[in-house]
């Protein structure tokens, strides 16, 4: 697809953390953030940014949106004719940013709130009305912001992100708060935008659901990009096997013949097993052996599996670290962390 692509080269932003001493109570030091991110976003591509809480997804999106400065590295805009380095000001002209969970409030009307942002961007009132209809808020244009439901607020935030007809769209946890119908419509809208050449980055802490929407996934942890590519490519590069969860009635059958079994569980009347296998060609074997099967669910690797494989840590370590607020870079950067 023709259009502009965005390339991040060693992009770094680190938040300042309070580090008071007796003589300098205001002292700060570099804290968590994103470190040396190199990534490209092709025209009309949807990239899923995946990672646990505190991985740096939001910080990276804010940096690309021009809201946070780029402390190191550069952002390049590549078109067929030339390549240009972008600063925060020029980024804001071409990027639409949808922050996570904007809590619109007050007596201002929906239309006014959007018009205010439109004026800051130089977009017309006609565009505002069109966008309100596009996100399904045409009938609520005169409603007060405080009267909007969470789903409607999400739609309004999306409309705000689309104001300047951006070439690049950054969506931070966009499906939060949307009902299934709205989520489906939202995904359709993303595909329409994609077909028009808009490149989109969607951040999420869940791989499930993103797979169907995105072309590629970038896996982030501790402010670093661990892997990027299609889910299959990442799983392959991390030597992760696809798995399948099979369940059936009665007692756990004899599965000694099956070499792919990872774990099994049996209750009074049912059994469940997980196999490290894609499932292709396996079902006939179950049928031939007379094993009754109730469910057959192929599973792609989840975020925890991907993280465990990418970091070499076990599930408990990853789980504890996600819960911890002390998110430190995976690699030592500059020695401040020691």
């Amino acid at each position: 697809m023709e259009g502009d692509s965005l390339r991040l080269e060693e992009v770094t932003f680190r938040h300042r953390m309070s580090d008071p001493s007796r003589l300098k109570p205001w002292r700060t030091r570099p804290g968590p953030g994103v470190h040396s991110i190199t990534l490209s976003l092709r025209p009309g591509e949807i990239l899923g940014l995946v990672g646990p809480n505190g991985a740096g997804k939001t910080t990276l999106l804010r940096t690309i949106a021009g809201v946070l400065p780029i402390q190191n590295g550069k952002l390049m805009l590549t078109s067929s004719a030339k390549e240009t380095q972008l600063d925060s000001d020029s980024l804001r002209n071409i990027v639409g940013h949808m922050p996570e969970q904007v809590r619109w409030q007050g007596r201002q009307s929906v239309e006014d709130a959007l018009l205010e942002l439109a004026e800051m961007r130089g977009a017309s009132a006609k565009r505002v009305n069109g966008l309100l209809r596009l996100v399904g808020l045409g009938q609520r244009a005169t409603a007060h912001l405080s009267d909007l439901s969470q789903g409607m607020r999400q739609r309004l935030t999306l409309a705000a992100a689309l104001l300047g007809s951006p070439k690049f769209l950054l969506l931070d946890e966009p499906l939060n708060g949307l009902d299934p119908v709205a989520a489906t419509a939202f995904v359709q809208l993303l595909h329409e935008l994609k077909s028009k050449g808009v490149s989109i980055i969607i951040s999420s802490h869940q791989v499930e659901g993103l797979e169907a929407i995105t072309d590629r996934i970038a896996l982030m942890h501790r402010g670093q990009l661990l892997a990027n590519g299609t889910l299959a490519e990442i799983a392959d590069s991390l030597e992760l096997q696809p798995s399948i969860v099979v369940a059936g009635p009665g007692k756990l059958p004899d599965l000694a013949w099956c070499k792919h079994r990872v774990e099994s569980e049996s209750a009074q009347d049912t059994w469940t097993i997980r196999l490290e296998h894609s499932g292709v060609g396996l079902l006939p074997e179950f049928i031939e052996r007379g094993i009754e099967v109730h469910s057959w669910n192929p599973k792609s690797p989840g975020i925890v599996e991907l993280l465990c494989a990418a970091t070499g840590m076990n599930i408990e370590e990853v789980g504890l670290e996600i819960a911890s607020t002390a998110m430190l870079p995976h690699k030592s950067i500059g020695g401040e962390e020691e």
């Binding site: 938040h15 639409g96 922050p99 904007v102 004026e119 800051m120």
Partner: protein
């Protein structure tokens, strides 16, 4: 749309948002009580102030009635602007604003102008009503120059308080801390400044509160230049030749410029480095 028009447009939106707010409706009776109410009281022909003084000139009455601005209008300015940045920052709307191509400096200017207009325009209308009340009670109009100086000084003091409050608001993310900052600062300059002046006088060996003591008057006059309320009164005193506190008019106006430029440039600087 040019940059200036864009700033004006955003400022106008901030103005309408604030002037139509519930808190403005609550504060309006307070402003009416403090501004025309004080003008009415001080223009009473039978009023006798401490020391047996009876104000009989329109500018003199306006000067005394300016207490309404110091105590009422500035507090209303603080209450109007305390969440000017923090509310949108906490809700996430601020991040959307920062993601727009409009430079942050322009956004800061629009925010200051919009908030300031939201408090100054009602105060200016009520001040003009006060001038009419004084005319009715004393039978004499204040000169155009007196009214101009009064309105300019009032505009400035309200601007200073609004900008201090926005600066405080930009430092906090929760509304409680934002309002505590704003009111604390108002309290410092409105009430605690007298204590500060007294302490400095005591440390300098100057007799405290002696209205005929030249040393005390000079010290109080000088220290008042360091407080927005003090500068406000110095500006009004430029139209009252009978009050002489040893501070020439140019010093008062110079301090007014400094009080305008330093906080507003600090706010612009803060906005340029602010993170959502």
């Amino acid at each position: 749309m040019s940059d200036v028009l864009r700033i004006q447009s955003l400022a106008r939106r901030v103005f309408w948002d604030r002037i139509g707010s519930t808190r403005m409706l609550i504060m309006l009776p307070i402003l009416v009580l403090f501004l025309p109410g004080m003008a009415w009281g001080f223009s009473d022909p039978n009023i006798v102030l401490p020391g047996g003084h009876q104000p009989d000139q329109p500018m003199e009455v306006m000067f005394y009635a300016s207490l309404g601005v110091v105590f009422g209008a500035t507090m209303c300015g603080v209450l109007l602007a305390f969440d000017g940045v923090s509310r949108d920052r906490a809700s996430g709307v601020f991040e959307l604003r920062l993601a727009q191509p409009m430079p942050r400096t322009h956004q800061a200017i629009a925010l200051m102008l919009g908030m300031w207009q939201a408090i100054f325009i009602p105060v200016a209308v009520l001040s003009l009503a006060s001038v009419a009340i004084i005319r009715w009670r004393l039978g004499e109009w204040a000169s155009v120059w007196d009214v101009m100086i009064h309105l300019t000084a009032t505009a400035l003091i309200l601007f200073w308080y609004v900008v201090f409050t926005l600066l405080a608001s930009s430092r906090t993310k929760d509304q409680g801390t934002a309002i505590a900052f704003g009111i604390g600062m108002w309290f410092l300059f409105t009430f605690l400044w007298a204590l500060f002046t007294t302490m400095v006088a005591y440390a300098s060996g100057v007799a405290i509160g002696e209205q005929n003591n030249a040393q005390w008057i000079a010290l109080e006059g000088s220290l008042d230049l360091l407080s927005p309320n003090g500068v406000y009164h110095h500006l009004l005193e430029t139209r009252l030749p009978e009050i002489e506190r040893g501070v020439p008019a140019w010093q008062s106006w110079a301090m007014a410029v400094i009080w305008t430029l330093i906080p507003s440039s600090l706010f612009v600087r803060r906005m340029n480095t602010l993170q959502p």
